[in-house]
Amino acid sequence: MSMVKQLSMWKALNGALHDILEDTPEAFVMGEDVTTWGTGGGIYGVTGKLVKNFGSDRVRDTPISEEVLISAAVGAAMCGSRPILEIMYSDFTFLGFDGIINQAAKARYMFGGQFDVPFVLRTNGGSGGGKAGQHSQSLETLFAHIPGLEVVVPGTPGDAYGLMRTAVASNNPTIFLEHKNLYYDKGPVDFIPVPFGQARIARDGSDVTIVATQEMVKRSLAAAEVLASKHDVSVEIIDPRTLYPFDMESVITSVKKTRHLLVAHEAVRDYGWGAEFVASLAEEAWSELDAAPRRLGGSRTPIPYSEPLENAVIPSVNSIIEAVLAVRGSVVAA
């Protein structure tokens, strides 16, 4: 059954949810405005037509009550259901952090392994659309810091489909962070589950390894073209796809070849997951590096509204080019 279709990411996610509701009787979808907004699929269309096919029992519109929605999803997951909860923007998860961090992430452990918690929280992060301070954050680092959570950051439509299948099949609570800039990007979808903890090589190269996710993969790919044509630098790009579990092995394999590392993420750079990556690499493969590794990340600011301000706080194609050249020890204005 090797079917491949070109789909946009929202459509790939919609297909994943459709297939999950079809073959997983324990699964259900709920969230604010998931059946009646726009064309009937929530703010980015991801839940489109699901209510028509599966009914309002398994595809539930909810009140604006993030705290109880999150904790109720956890309670349902502890009782044998597989809830897929959409939180409209990742910024809104803060209203229900108790359910995520004190309940979902700890229930298996605190209770000595008695409970599975097959809870999936779908939401989106990322800036770039002028949604400003409270609709644009990249919060993956916060979730990746919490023992007990799995954190998924799909960068392509095919990965979005495959990782969603794995998330719902997983008996651990999973934070599934989509990126609002990528919903309309198209790519091949092969409808096969993607295992957690296996990075994807987004581009082969030999001189510098860039570890990046989502929008930063796109910008790194653009930067790599310029670096190849103008600077004769060959960039390898690794997309970890899940931040926990985390595929350090693929990074080490790549660095053994390139001997240079840059991590680029949209999450705030300070205390960000890139620091974890760089520190782990330093501990495990120091001798494989020919130069100090570098990090690029969001500024230590909220995301501003006005376009030039917003562009200034997130790594750009140019800043990635400059950072790659700096890692290579030849700082040149791009």
């Binding site: 009140p63 109720a72 605190m110 209770f111 000595g112 579990p245």
Partner: protein, 325 residues
Amino acid sequence: MSAYDAKKHGIAGLRQMAMIREFERRMPLLAEEKLIRGSTHPSVGMEAVAVGVSLALGTGDTIASNHRGHGHCLARGSDPARTMAEILGRSDGYCHGKGGSMHLAVKELGILGTNAIVGAGIGLATGAALAATMQGRDSVAVSYFGDGASNQGVLAEALNLAAIWSLPVLFICENNHYAMSDSFEQMVAQPDLSQRGTAYGVKSVNVDGMNLPKVYEVAAEAVARARGGAGPTLIVADTYRYLGHMAGDTEIYRSVEEVQRWRDRDPIAALVAELTEAGVLSETQWSEMQTEVADEVEAAEQFARNSPFPDSAWATTDVYEETRS
């Protein structure tokens, strides 16, 4: 629903209440002996609520408890020995010592855990009720919380969600008049907490939480309504904790006289009087029952004291389904 029957519910309830009292009475002593780490919150005085509600529940029902939750678990049928072992952090505890008093769950009894976050069980129980509905199971979920938790926002959200979806959930508010040291009178402007439910379209009742038959009756009615698809009920039980919030509580916020006034309305003494009056309990039977539960709890304590501490290798298991390193 089955109506309150002194012979059946009264006698069974009395035994459970006496057992819980004997169990909880030992908590401050074990804490003093440093056998209990951290905080432990005994429920002495509040037994009629946990027992009255539990008598109305059946197999397959779930409860989400709070920080003062030993009584809820024991009333639901948790083994006193394994419960005590968990509180003492031992390997034979229900959670192998990983949870302790405030994180104590028994999956096979539908106990989704005591909980150290005030109000958190409200959302979990709402979800348990949702799961039951989704799975077509005829079971109800119970959330136990206190007057302190009534001021958490999640209660408002949960009451509304349960109401619009007609979820089979019982919100049991144990108003014991103090949230740690803050009095109910000081922290709540509208003293009739049942109005919180009414405001959201949830059937809401007040009950004397020192009276087992009355608690049983309102709980049984709420369970019947929930199973019948009529949705949630908020039950506000007026009750009192005789001991401090936890070991070491100076109790400067209340008077000895106030505590005594509530002790004079003791739910166990009241039930004994009622059952004796009704001719279903003799003095000898009551005295035998007390000896029996004291022996049972003593055996539980000895079991817990003798249970080995967990192997330190267990500290890193059960984080994920397959623990990743």
